[in-house]
């Protein structure tokens, strides 16, 4: 644990503390709408960290993370509504399900040496199969969706993840913080270095004694389990689940944009990316409406152009560039 924080310089420690304090007191300063945007950014940070462990560290491009998100969300929602099992228990079922799906995916991918983009296609295929399955499965509500009861008598059962916006805000903050700690601990551990070695050159990694199959499975399991926890949060926060939303490929893309824009394989990349993209998205919606441009597709077009501009300006992500500008570069351990 101590080693995990060794990258922090005094300057970056202060920056991190300032961010923490700002996020902790934000609910008392900003309005509800802004708070909901910060909450989404925190959730984006969390999911981005989970995905970044797999791609940014281990070099496995998953384009189907919606699968783990959806499995986690549906598992906890169904257990809660149909069987009265609370989320603190069902979260383990959610993680187990996601790890099970990841194990099947990994077995196919690693056993048969499906590398690179072909592995990515496999991740899309898995997510799509489950999405189509859920769309047509009456038990989970099919395309019409699955709903959690929203009633006032339950609204203060925080132990059942029933609570107000403030409760969900702090829970998202906690999850984002924990995901950062997990990533930092991994990054400084032998396992994390094995991830990096595989990302850089699998053949050289093997020649140095790294068991690449085992290591890739672990990266996949950690990433899938973390994403499933995000799914549990989403289920209880939104109270409604539709395969066409939570299991859709566009959801997978949404998850991966923040870490890519923020900086692949960096600790702060998912955070920086999410806190840029989420506000940008809602600012665009508001802005375009204000100037009367509400034709469908206009927002996506402008959003896409801005993403292209950011990637062209900082090809390695915003964080490496920002860290240099602010003097917050990591210290050699």
């Amino acid at each position: 644990m101590k080693g995990a924080l060794s990258f922090l310089t005094p300057r970056s420690t202060i920056a991190l503390l300032v961010c923490c304090v700002a996020l902790l007191i934000a609910p008392f300063i900003v309005d509800r709408y802004t708070l909901s945007i910060i909450l989404l950014a925190l959730l984006g940070t969390y999911l981005g960290q989970a995905w970044n462990i797999l791609m940014g560290y281990c070099g496995l491009l998953s384009l189907g993370h919606a699968l783990y998100l959806g499995l986690g969300a549906y598992a906890s929602a169904i257990l809660f509504v149909n069987y009265g099992v609370g989320p603190w228990l069902s979260v383990f079922v959610a993680m187990a399900l996601a790890v099970g799906a990841a194990a099947l995916l990994g077995w196919l991918g690693f056993r048969f040496r499906i590398e690179g983009v072909y592995f990515s296609l496999l991740t899309i295929a898995f997510a799509e199969i489950v999405r189509i399955g859920f769309d047509n499965w009456p038990f989970v509500g099919g395309a019409a969706g699955f709903f959690l009861p929203v009633n006032a008598s339950l609204s203060h059962q925080w132990w059942n993840l029933r609570g107000g916006p403030l409760f969900f805000y702090y829970l998202a903050l906690l999850m984002a913080a924990v995901s950062l700690v997990i990533a930092a601990v991994l990054r400084s551990s032998k396992l994390g270095y094995a991830f990096l070695a595989i990302r850089e050159d699998p053949q050289a990694a093997r020649a140095l004694g790294v068991d690449i199959n085992r290591t890739r499975f672990l990266a996949l399991f950690i990433s899938a389990a973390m994403t499933a926890v995000g799914g549990v949060y989403l289920a209880f926060w939104t109270n409604n689940l539709f395969p066409a939303q939570i299991l859709e490929t566009s959801k997978s893309i949404e998850i991966i944009l923040a870490p890519i824009i923020g900086g692949l394989g960096t600790l702060m990349g998912p955070f920086v990316g999410a806190f840029l993209l989420v506000p940008l998205g809602s600012a665009l919606t508001d802005g375009l409406r204000a100037i009367g441009l509400s034709a469908p597709g206009v927002k996506a077009l402008v959003y896409g152009l801005i993403l292209m501009a950011i990637i062209a300006a900082t090809p390695n992500g915003i964080w490496p560039w920002l860290a240099r500008k602010l003097g917050l570069e990591a210290r050699e351990p």
Partner: protein, 242 residues
């Protein structure tokens, strides 16, 4: 002395082409053993067979008395046989220090220990000044050195060196020769090297094994082997005509 590494009648074919044709050799504990031969003689394929990249079609490979043919590269490395790649494979986006630490973490309890062990090896190979640089930014001679450093960091009993002198200047070659000899003597490391730079072979090797078209054509002390008519014809002679 006893044989630490034994290759017995090993054959490897690639779609009808016999890359390694019934090669046998035996490397003794603590020895420096060179494998020479013209390009395409099957030297690197032989290394890949020993290192577990390929399984031989026929024959056996034994290390410290136990069969290792057919094992995976990571198992071979864990058993104590490290290798370098002829076409170097650094982890380009990681620092030189992290590159070597990844080698050391195989036997180190944690990354702090791995880094400390790695730093020691970097000093030995004159790379310590460059430890913060990204491996991808190194010059070719430095990458060759990094390749050796990373393999040494796994604390092997045998190191397979695939043309680590290629591209080095004579003074750099001598320096590398010095380092390898010192490690061989003080740490009792057995070295098997594929090498074209005869200056290094003559200075280092206890015995030389010559491959040609996948088959063994000679083996012996460097001075004897370089006088062998078939070796001169197939390899040294051919080189002189260039």
């Amino acid at each position: 002395m006893t044989a630490l590494l034994e290759v017995v009648d090993v054959v490897k074919r690639f779609r009808g082409l016999t890359a390694v044709d019934s090669v046998s050799l035996s490397v003794e504990d603590g020895e420096i053993f060179a494998i020479i031969g013209p390009n395409g003689a099957g030297k690197t394929t032989l290394f890949n067979l020993i290192a577990g990249v390929y399984a031989p079609d026929e024959g056996e490979i034994r290390y410290a008395g136990a069969r290792i043919d057919g094992q995976e590269p990571e198992q071979i490395c864990a058993a104590g046989i490290a290798r370098t790649f002829q076409i170097v494979k650094p982890f380009p986006d990681l620092s030189v220090r992290d590159n070597v630490a990844i080698g050391a973490m195989l036997r180190a309890p944690d990354m702090t220990a791995a880094r400390a062990q790695g730093d020691e090896i970097l000093r030995k190979l004159d790379l310590f000044d460059k430890s913060a640089q990204k491996a991808g930014s190194l010059t070719l001679p430095d990458r060759k050195r990094l390749e050796v450093a990373r393999a040494l960091a796994t604390k092997p009993r045998i190191i397979l060196l695939d043309e680590v002198m290629a591209g080095l200047r004579p003074t750099e070659t001598d320096r590398m020769v010095g380092v390898l000899r010192e490690i061989n003597r003080h740490e009792k490391l057995t070295i098997v090297m594929i090498e074209h730079v005869m200056r290094a072979v003559m200075a280092l090797a206890d015995r030389v094994h010559v491959l040609h078209h996948g088959a063994s054509i000679a083996e012996g002390a460097p001075q004897e082997v370089t006088k062998d008519a078939r070796v001169i014809e197939s390899y040294l002679g051919m080189k002189a005509t260039h």
